[in-house]
């Protein structure tokens, strides 16, 4: 599919980038073939985003050069670059109250001048961008009121209005649920297929990359490990080298693209020890924020001594349910019990000795080192004058060693990588030494190896010590493999609950997530595997470069 002689408007030659004398990208040369989708993959901290930013002229490399249309990109004026190349940053935030159309119009900035009113061309570009992303109906909505998937589409519309032949996207799907992920990836494929735009993106998820790209660049420690078609790059030995995790790779039974499943390092060993008094009972629960009722009359049992995974589309009430169980939110009606005792009664401290919550995206105060953070988990066991008994010290040590944090104990939490930071917060919840652990999307920012490491740890805590684990997971395949009990939520209600093999079916996936997928059995573990199907109109076929845009850019 890819030929070496293919033309390439954007390329890097021997680029090196360093942050504070720490090299992040080393002597890297890469050509982006025109009219294709190129994806940069790699573990956390491998320099993916840094590479993308230097390709987009946002970062100035310490050595080497980035070349756009045969010219050094840093010698071109910013506006000139912005007419040829659009960048979607990670976690972009819009100003408060701004509408979708307003946001999209800002994409025209590089084509406008100070006193000139928007031209017909500007208006056309905005209309076209709205239409392409399916946002025409939502044009007058404030961006902050949109769902995650809609918001991401609004941002993509903005850089589409920029009308650049090159699009650079930094993790465009990270916060989205599977339906929105597929929606965004399909949009990207359509832009490539129908308009011939050249797309470079950084992705987190290997399988998403396999589905979306013509070319994959595997990056590790700032160097290219391998580049080529998905089938060439995504094979077990390379994945093992890239992420440090053994993977099984299957071809999709219908569509043929490779599908990777990371293997757990921890064998499934039998039944966990019995734990009777840690089951969570939810009865006629209604809860929400202010006037908005998120949970509508939920009744559910989360079994003691088991691993329960909660899945569901964005904004289905997963986090609200978990927060209510963790006593962070008072129910409006109904009740939650833990081992038969009502959760929202009695002392907070006593409850915190029975149940720990790892919440989403917490931040540590400046200057806190890892050990300080882990030691904070001892708070419910401490008294004013008894803060560091032998038991406290032992629990902190155990948590540090379980989470592999011994070498990081004196590191400032703010200087850790995403994966390390998540382990530190998990260490804090462990030091709390509770029979029940609730984890709210513990794997969101982590690469494959870190995800497996964290879930293996949760499984070990369950299988060896009988702790009850309840977690919200984003990735359906991980949920299917690690959970004994699966809860599927939609629109504030429980859509299904039971063992993963029983619950997960193509019909359920269609009804809850609105996606078409094939469900097969993992030949190694027997757990169900969900392989999203190709949407027919978005088949990745390289299209000829877009002539009109070429003209517009020159």
């Amino acid at each position: 599919m890819m030929t070496n002689g293919q033309s390439s408007r954007l390329r890097s030659e021997h680029v090196s980038v360093a942050y504070n004398d720490q090299p992040v990208v080393h002597d890297l040369s890469l050509s982006i073939p025109d009219g294709t989708i190129t994806t940069i993959l790699g573990p956390n901290g491998c320099g993916k985003s840094t590479l993308l930013k230097s390709l987009a002229r946002v970062l100035r490399p310490a050595g080497g050069s980035v070349i756009l249309d045969g010219q050094l990109i840093h010698h071109l004026p910013t506006r000139e670059v912005a007419r040829r190349l659009g960048l979607l940053s990670q976690q972009a935030t819009a100003p408060e109250g701004i509408t979708v159309e307003d946001l999209v119009r800002r994409g025209r900035y590089p084509h406008q001048s100070l006193l000139q009113p928007p031209t017909r061309r500007d208006l056309e570009a905005v209309e076209k961008a709205l239409a392409l992303t399916g946002m025409t109906e939502l044009r007058n909505h404030p961006v902050d009121h949109l769902s995650g998937g809609q918001r991401q589409r609004a941002w993509i519309a903005m850089i589409l209005a920029q009308e650049t032949p090159l699009l650079l996207l930094d993790e465009p799907t990270t916060f989205l649920d599977i339906a929105h992920q597929i929606e965004v990836i399909d949009l990207i494929k359509r832009l490539n297929a129908e308009e011939g735009r050249t797309i470079v993106m950084v992705l987190h998820d290997v399988n998403e990359a396999a589905r979306a790209s013509h070319k994959i660049v595997a990056l590790k420690d700032g160097r290219i490990l391998r580049e080529g078609t998905p089938a060439e790059v995504l094979e077990p030995s390379l994945l093992a080298e890239l992420y440090g995790v053994e993977c099984d790779v299957f071809p999709h039974p219908e569509h043929g693209y490779p599908f990777c499943v990371p293997r757990s390092a921890l064998p499934l060993d039998g039944e966990p020890p019995r734990a009777d008094d840690t089951g969570i009972g939810i009865r006629q629960l209604r809860a929400g924020y202010g006037q908005v009722m998120v949970l509508k009359d939920i009744s559910l049992d989360l079994p003691a001594g088991a691993i329960t995974a909660i899945i569901g589309p964005n904004a289905c009430g997963k986090s609200t349910l978990l927060r209510t169980c963790a006593r962070l939110l008072k129910p409006v009606g109904g009740k939650v019990t833990l081992g038969g005792q009502e959760v929202h009664r009695g002392s907070h401290r006593a409850f915190a000795r029975r149940l720990a919550l790892l919440s989403q995206g917490p931040t540590a105060p400046p200057g806190f080192v890892v050990e300080d953070l882990v030691a904070s988990g001892r708070y419910p066991h401490q008294g004013l004058l008894r803060q560091w008994r032998l038991a406290d010290e032992a629990a902190v040590e155990a948590a540090l060693s379980r989470c592999g944090l011994e070498d990081l104990r004196l590191r400032d939490v703010e200087t850790l990588s995403g994966g390390q930071r998540q382990r530190a917060w998990f260490g804090m919840a462990l030091a709390q030494d509770t029979p029940v652990l609730l984890l709210d999307e513990p794997t969101t920012f982590l690469d494959m190896a870190a995800q497996i490491g964290l879930l293996d740890l949760a499984r070990a805590l369950n299988r060896r010590e009988g702790r009850t684990v309840v977690m919200i997971l984003h990735d359906l395949n991980l949920a299917a493999r690690y959970a004994d009990h699966l809860v599927v939520m939609k629109g504030g209600e429980v859509a299904a609950a039971g063992p993963p093999a029983v619950v997960l079916s193509p019909d359920l996936l269609r009804a809850v997530f609105g996606i078409e997928a094939t469900v097969i059995r993992d030949p190694r573990t027997g757990a169900p595997l969900i392989l999203p199907n190709e949407t027919p109109e978005a088949k990745p076929t390289p299209a000829p470069p877009m002539e009109s845009l070429e003209l517009a850019a020159v």
Partner: protein
């Protein structure tokens, strides 16, 4: 048999573990050592401060006079005039710095201090009213304290909406502060200039003319509040992790926050009541303490207090002696302290 079992913490440099039947604490002895060194410096500086003035006394003479030896004239100058002022500077500096430290930790925002969120303005309005209407000046501290305490209550009540949101607390405080300042300005133009003038001087913040009555009042109050403040840093550390995390650690959020707000307001109110609003100490000293000693803990809180004392005493010495005219100390903390603070921020490259 040893009552205390103590040992150096092997894996955490700079810490020592102390355990007995009733106590089990791990203490950052390095920071306590810093505090000790700062205390020695404070003692030397205080003694030196008492040698200065139009009636100059040698260093040894001051030491003797403090313990009650020497000629009566010296005794009067040192024990009646200079010692109370020095002690007041020390205690007020400590109270302001600790108050700022609690507020900054509480709202997780390093740009907050009691003078930013209107506590000082409350004290100011009451005090100015008291001065311009010609009430008994002996009760001025009581009036200022009442103003500070009422303002703190008003801020708390207006911020409450099923809980206290730190950001709303700052905004409400700034709003109330602006209102109170308008009131103070109104009083300043409403009354004749000769009555307003002492009020204006009071508002600059000064410890001129402190006497043993002030010292007794300050000591008594601080002996109660300061240990509570140090003890509450245990809860403050959990609170700093964010509301959600603190709650899942079993911290009774609103009760802990109320305790911290009350103690921080009390510290600020005590200081403002006796000295008027002295700017910048409460904002700046906690930063310097954190730069030197690391994130907030009980030991760091103690260190912050000593550092605040050292800072205000130094500022008062400059105010009193460095220029031909003696100035209110508040002028010096702003004029000298603020640029030095900017310099430190620039040098240390800390993230705020």
């Amino acid at each position: 048999m040893a009552v205390f079992d103590y040992a150096a913490s092997p894996r955490r440099p700079g810490h020592i573990t102390v355990r007995s039947r009733f106590v089990a604490l791990r203490v950052n002895y390095r920071v306590l050592l810093f505090a000790l060194i700062a205390s020695v410096l404070l003692l030397l500086l205080a003694t030196y401060a008492m040698t200065l003035g139009s009636y100059s006394i040698p260093f040894s003479g001051v030491v003797k006079a403090v313990v009650g030896q020497g000629d009566p004239e010296r005794l009067t100058v040192v024990r009646t005039l200079r010692l109370p002022r020095v002690i007041c500077a020390i205690l007020i500096g400590a109270a302001l710095a600790m108050s700022g430290s609690i507020f900054q930790g509480l709202v997780r925002n390093p740009l907050v201090s009691p003078d930013v969120i209107g506590i000082s303005e409350g004290a100011g309005l009451f005090a100015v009213f008291w001065i311009v209407t010609g009430f008994d000046l002996a009760l001025l501290p009581a009036a200022a304290f009442a103003g500070a305490a009422l303002t703190a209550m008003a801020i708390y009540v207006l911020t409450w909406k099923g809980g206290i949101s730190p950001n709303r607390l700052i905004l409400v405080g700034i709003g109330i502060g602006a209102m109170l300042r308008a009131g103070t300005n109104y009083l300043s133009v409403r009354y004749p200039v000769e009555q307003v003038r002492p009020a204006v001087v009071w508002q600059m913040g000064s410890i001129y003319g402190s006497d043993w009555g002030d010292v007794k009042l300050l000591t008594g109050l601080l002996l109660v509040i300061a240990p509570i403040a140090v003890a509450l840093t245990w809860q403050l550390r959990a609170l700093q992790l964010g509301d959600g995390v603190a709650r899942s650690l079993g911290l009774p959020l609103e009760r802990a926050r109320l305790g911290l707000i009350v103690s921080a307001c009390a510290l600020a109110a005590v200081a403002v009541a006796l000295a008027g609003p002295i700017g910048f100490v409460a904002l700046m000293v906690p930063h310097i303490a954190r730069m030197l000693a690391g994130p907030l803990s009980g030991s760091v809180m103690i260190f912050t207090g000593v550092l605040g004392a050292l800072f205000l005493l130094g500022a008062d010495m400059i105010a009193q002696h460095a220029l031909p005219v003696s100035l209110p100390v508040g002028v010096v903390t702003g004029a000298v302290g603020a640029p030095y603070f900017l310099f430190l921020l620039y040098r240390a490259n800390v993230r705020v």
